[in-house]
């Protein structure tokens, strides 16, 4: 038996022992997602148990080094772990911007001291991070940000406003791009970690057209953070930002977008709402649109697989812009197509008359409009492909 097989046996045995029964059932809705953090509220105590056990093993971050609380697994072992979790339909123990976004950047840019301070709480889900990037005046033009950080003694004092900070109202801390030099654009940006449990940080949820408020405005008024929370070089934040954006694009896209109706297969919904004749979707024109979409989804999945096979482990590349571009437009089209298929049933806002599936489609269609805006607009992604991949230049 190979080492990997041995490992697999161990994992399997551990899971039998440690994955609580309710954690092996499909998630009902967004509320079942475990984000951890100081303010976490576990309706299901088994969710907490599952997080604690996985966190203790470091398996929420399987490939991170053991010394920082991670699982210390090889890429192959992590893959085995993923397969075994999938085999029993285990729910993710932890959803976390700390795991997906901040951690990888810290591992590349932080000092040993910083890693020891910040990674273990992320792994155990003891802290919930959010990301402070966009500002009201700087959307796609991220580097135009104005939030100022000034060093006073051994603390940075931060003033400014962030916007589109996901779940900032539920987060404990924020990783932030701030301006530390106003005389230059890209080279005057630094990357700071800021605790949000202070008077200088306030948040205000933004209500979206979908009726939800996953994003906030975050106000920094004389907020303070110790100087040791500067990650990487002073004024070296833009490089980190670009890396993070690629992580974000890849994560957003691979994870699928937003809410609503992802579970039911498009063709089954079409058969139900448009009728079927001889096993075929009765509306031949819509059927063709469904096939087009299914084909694109499949081509996209194959491309994700191919790009992942081509890339070196952990590397992110301009290909992330291709992925993000396709994923965003594809999901928007999917939701519009679902609305077309479901008709009136997907045009309701609330009420018993409309099916849960219908309401989720309506809201999901609305939410999906942000897919091509958040984490890099479609326009910015096309710019990146044109310039960084194809080598086309700006006007001279």
């Amino acid at each position: 038996m190979s080492d990997l097989d041995v490992f697999r046996e161990e994992v399997r045995a551990w899971l039998v022992e440690n994955c609580p029964p309710s954690m092996r059932t499909p998630m009902g809705n967004d509320e079942d997602v475990v984000w951890g953090g100081r303010k976490a509220n576990y309706k299901n105590p088994e969710a907490k148990l599952w997080l604690d056990r996985m966190g203790a093993k470091g398996w929420t971050a399987p490939t991170w080094p053991k010394e920082y609380g991670g699982g210390g697994l090889s890429k192959e072992e992590a893959s085995v772990l993923g397969q075994e979790l999938g085999r029993i339909n285990a729910r993710p123990a932890l959803a976390s911007f700390g795991l997906w976004m901040l951690g990888p950047v810290l591992l590349e840019y932080a000092t040993d001291e910083q890693l020891k301070e910040h990674l273990p709480p992320i792994v155990r889900g003891e802290i919930r991070w959010c990301q402070g990037y966009s500002e009201p005046g700087a959307g796609s033009d991220l580097a135009g940000l104005q939030t100022r950080a000034v060093l006073e003694g051994d603390e940075y004092v931060i003033n400014g406003q962030k916007v589109w900070t996901s779940y900032a109202d539920k987060a404990d801390a924020i990783f932030c791009l701030v301006r530390t030099d106003t005389s230059t654009k890209h080279e005057g940006i630094s990357f700071l970690l800021i605790d949000m449990d202070q008077a200088g940080v306030t948040t205000k949820p933004i209500k979206l057209i979908s009726g939800n408020s996953p994003f906030c405005e975050t106000f920094l008024d004389d907020a303070r953070t110790p100087a040791r929370n500067l990650i990487g070089r002073l004024n070296g934040g833009w490089e980190i930002a670009k890396k993070l954006l690629q992580h974000e694009r890849t994560n957003i896209s691979a994870g699928g977008f937003g809410a609503g109706g992802r579970s039911a297969a498009l063709e089954e919904v079409a058969k139900e709402y448009l009728g079927a004749e001889g096993g075929k979707i009765a509306d031949a024109v819509k059927r063709d649109e469904v096939v087009r979409h299914k084909m694109l989804e499949r081509a996209f999945a194959q491309t994700l697989k191919r790009m992942s096979a081509e890339s070196k482990a952990g590397e992110v590349s301009p290909a992330s812009s291709i992925i993000k571009y396709v994923a965003a437009e594809m999901n928007k089209d999917r939701m519009e197509l679902l609305v077309e298929i479901m008709g009136l049933q997907a045009l309701g806002w609330s009420g018993d008359y409309f099916s849960a599936e219908g309401l989720a489609t309506t809201r999901g269609m609305l939410r999906s409009k942000a897919n091509s805006i958040e984490g890099g607009t479609t326009e910015v992604n096309l710019n990146v492909i044109a310039k960084r991949v194809l080598g086309l230049r700006d006007h001279q």
Binding site: A138, G343, L344, L347, G351, Y353, L366, T378, L382
Partner: protein
């Protein structure tokens, strides 16, 4: 006239523009939405619109109307669409007055048209029973009973259905669901015994209701148009409704385009106005082009209605299909070009998108109308 407004029409358009901008701008609709008002529109506003003559704009003078012509109504609808104004113009005038003019008996016309023109009567037509528009798919049964009928069944997506004083119900008097023959129009009271009404909470916060009829008895005088021939009578009413709604959608799309164009001229990114980026310029130019084409199809269809052209049905489907696609494109682009701010409930563009999606599906989607257009033209 036709493709260029004459003087009277220009005056009407200008006064409609001023009226809605003053009395029923988007902020008014937003307030209405946020108040969760069950009526779903402002009765005061409707009275004011009636005073402007618009409730009776297509009603002949003999019935107390303005007899201004259908084109005039589309101009008012366009301005209404531009401001997202909630009013019973579609339900009461396009559908209700339209059906009376098309299929009403003299008695029905004499009794109801003057009240509509005065803004004192709300009407609607109840057609849909399913999640896709298709009048032939009517199952709601009207059984002969003495010299009257008994109606039993359910209707949905009835515009202003929960507040309408009179409801014209498309019911099956013979044949089976799916047949075009065997349908008849009945005029019933909104508050008749056996009628239950429930307002639906729609995406666009506009009025639509689910209506149940449980053994609703009507006399033979309730019949509108030929027995078993209701489909054809209704089709003519619907042509009017499709063109009118297209005009409303055109107004909404034009408003979104204008606010987006403004934004392109004021929002800066990367040190430049975003409207100076060529890819956005080209997309804006294409939107403008589609709007110009849409304007032509609406004006042509409205003119044909006034002229009694025998191509009205085709032109109505052309208008509904074409403007729906344009409205979809413009609202999508409107959100995208506004970026994050367009995603917020606070910004108006989302309200237009919501209205657009519902309007696209009202009286048949673009796909429905392409099929209908091809059928009408024998291919």
């Amino acid at each position: 006239m036709g493709l260029v407004l004459d003087e009277e029409q220009t005056i009407l358009k200008d006064s409609a523009k001023a009226f809605f901008a003053e009395q029923a701008p988007v902020t008014a609709f937003r307030k209405l939405r946020d108040s969760n008002d069950e009526t779903g529109f402002s009765r005061d506003l409707w009275s004011a619109m009636a005073e402007m003559g618009w409730a009776g704009i297509i009603i002949p003078e003999e019935f107390g109307g303005l007899d201004f012509g259908f084109q005039g109504l589309t101009l008012v609808l366009e301005e209404q669409g531009r401001n997202l104004t909630a009013s019973p113009l579609v339900s009461t005038v396009l559908l209700g007055a339209g059906a009376l003019l098309e299929a009403g008996t003299e008695a029905q016309k004499n009794a109801l048209l003057p009240m509509i023109a005065a803004g004192e009567l709300l009407m609607t037509v109840a057609i849909d029973e399913d999640h896709h528009f298709d009048p032939a798919n009517t199952a709601l049964a009207a059984k002969a009973d003495g010299d009257g009928y008994v109606l039993t069944g359910e209707k949905t997506f009835v515009l202003d259905g929960h507040v309408a004083d009179k409801i014209i119900v498309l019911a099956r008097t013979s044949g089976e669901k799916g047949d075009r023959k065997g349908l008849t129009l009945f005029l019933i009271d909104g508050t008749a015994g056996g009628v239950t009404r429930e307002r639906l909470d729609m995406l666009d916060s506009r009025n639509a209701a689910r209506i149940k009829l449980d053994q609703v008895k009507v006399s033979s005088e309730a019949v509108m148009g030929p027995i078993d021939g209701g489909y054809d009578a209704l089709s003519k009413v619907l042509d009017r409704a499709m063109i009118g709604l297209s005009a409303e959608m055109l107004g909404g799309a034009a408003a979104v385009f204008e606010m987006t164009l403004e934004y392109l001229k004021e929002r800066r990114q990367f040190g430049q106005l975003i409207g100076s980026f060529q890819s956005l310029q080209h997309r804006a130019a294409d939107m403008f082009t589609q709007l110009e084409l849409s304007k032509s199809v609406v004006m042509t269809a409205a003119t044909a209605m006034d002229e009694g052209s025998n191509e009205i049905a085709s032109l109505a489907s052309l208008a509904k299909a074409f403007v729906s696609e344009t409205s979809n494109q413009v609202t999508r682009e409107g959100i995208q070009m506004h970026g994050g701010i367009g995603m917020t409930d606070e910004h108006d563009v989302g309200l237009y998108l919501k209205r657009s999606r519902v309007a696209e599906h009202t009286f048949g989607s673009a796909g429905y109308h392409r099929d209908r257009y091809a059928r009408l033209n024998d291919y």
